[in-house]
């Protein structure tokens, strides 16, 4: 599965992931507190500027962003109808700004860096006794590892439907997919335990 990460060497690429995420959180808070369409428009322009630094070009960017931009337009239109033009403009610019800032961070941070941040952030969770930070990394790895097999199984089940002249329906697709996939859990878990991966030494 290809990530949304974009290769490059801008200053954003070089910033630590944790810093970027903290920055995003701070900026989002700020944007939600602002109500002036003018100020929010400035933020939106800043967002466009940052995203442009990725060097993707108009066509590529449009491909990536169009579905979400459509949603933003729809919501703003709703606000226009129900509330005032000023409110609609504020909503529109705020969402554009937030969305572009977030998309830029996603594009300039590698999957590995993200996982490292998630693992560090999960350390407080260890106190609940439910899960350890390294378990999170293992769990994420497991999902990415087995995703192609699950997708392949889904295709095979769909093909089996077609071969028998049945129309694929959510129920008849989901049940075999679930049972066939989860059946492997015992052996996978046994293999992990046999290798002593989760033992605290």
């Amino acid at each position: 599965m290809k990530s949304l990460h974009v290769e490059g060497d801008t200053f954003l690429h070089r910033l630590p992931a944790g810093l970027k995420l903290a920055g995003l959180a701070a900026v989002s808070l700020l944007l939600f507190l602002l109500h002036s369409p003018l100020l929010l428009a400035v933020a939106a322009v800043a967002g466009i500027g940052l995203y442009a630094m990725l060097g993707l070009g108009w066509r590529n960017s449009w491909q990536r962003l169009r579905v979400i931009l459509l949603t933003i337009v729809v919501v703003s239109a709703f606000t226009l109808v129900i509330n005032s033009p000023v409110d609609a403009a504020a909503v529109f610019f705020r969402l554009i700004a937030l969305f572009l800032f977030a998309a830029t961070i996603t594009a300039t941070t590698s999957t590995g860096d993200f996982i490292a941040v998630v693992t560090t952030a999960a350390k407080p969770l260890e106190k609940t006794g439910l899960i350890t930070a390294s378990d999170i990394g293992l769990a994420i790895g497991l999902v990415i590892r087995f995703l192609p097999e699950v997708l392949g199984r889904y295709q095979a089940i769909r093909d089996a439907h077609h071969a028998r002249g049945l129309k694929p329906k959510p129920l008849t697709l989901a049940v075999p997919l679930i049972i066939l996939t989860l059946r492997n859990a015992d052996e996978i878990a046994a293999a992990i335990d046999a290798r002593g991966i989760r033992s605290q030494k």
Binding site: A107, L142, Y154, I178, A189
Partner: protein
């Protein structure tokens, strides 16, 4: 958490991602296309219970956050958490936990099929429809400044589709319980 629980949650997260690939279907009387991914969220609760179902959905949300296009339509990345629909997305986690908790307490292997399906249906409704939609509406209303009334009206269009999904989840829950029971028995 046992290794088996961790693996079950991770495998189910992969299933939820795979369900994002099922093309949305249009049913005549429902104005919006029905996607299968939120069905996956209800299934996680119904089949794995609160703890593992919640972890499965949490893993999907983490994958979205780290930039993998795992949401239906190939969407992903941090930006999706700022969209107007972000409340529904984050709500998935709470939906799975509530559906899981209710499933564990309402449904029992000793009950007959109809009772089990009814129990799962109620659990899926409470989690996947009530809790998820409430959170979706909350963010839509306050987060984007559209106001509660609009948000509530906008949400109504999605309720019939999700009620249908709750029914599918209930039937699937019963089928899996017969074939490969995994739900912790707590009733």
């Amino acid at each position: 958490m046992s290794t088996r629980d961790l693996v079950l949650a991770a495998l189910f997260a992969a299933i939820i991602v795979a369900l994002g690939l099922v093309p949305p279907i249009m049913l005549g009387f429902i104005p919006v296309p029905i996607t299968a991914q939120s069905l996956g969220v209800m299934l996680a609760g119904v089949i794995l219970g609160a703890k593992r179902g919640g972890l499965a959905v949490l893993l999907v949300l983490v994958l979205v956050a780290i930039g993998l296009p795992v949401l239906s339509g190939g969407r992903g990345g941090l930006a999706t958490f700022f969209l107007p629909t972000a409340g529904y997305l984050v709500g998935w986690f709470f939906a799975a936990v509530v559906t899981g908790y209710c499933s564990e307490h309402f449904v029992d292997r000793s009950q007959n099929g109809i009772v089990q399906i009814a129990g799962f249906f109620l659990a899926a409704l409470l989690g996947g429809v009530v809790v998820d939609h409430l959170m979706g509406i909350a963010y839509l209303a306050f987060g984007t400044g559209t106001g509660l009334a609009t948000a509530f009206l906008g949400d109504l269009a999605f309720v019939p589709g999700d009620v249908l999904k709750a029914m599918i989840a209930a039937l699937a829950g019963r089928a899996v319980m017969v074939g490969y029971p995994l739900l912790p028995q707590r009733a």
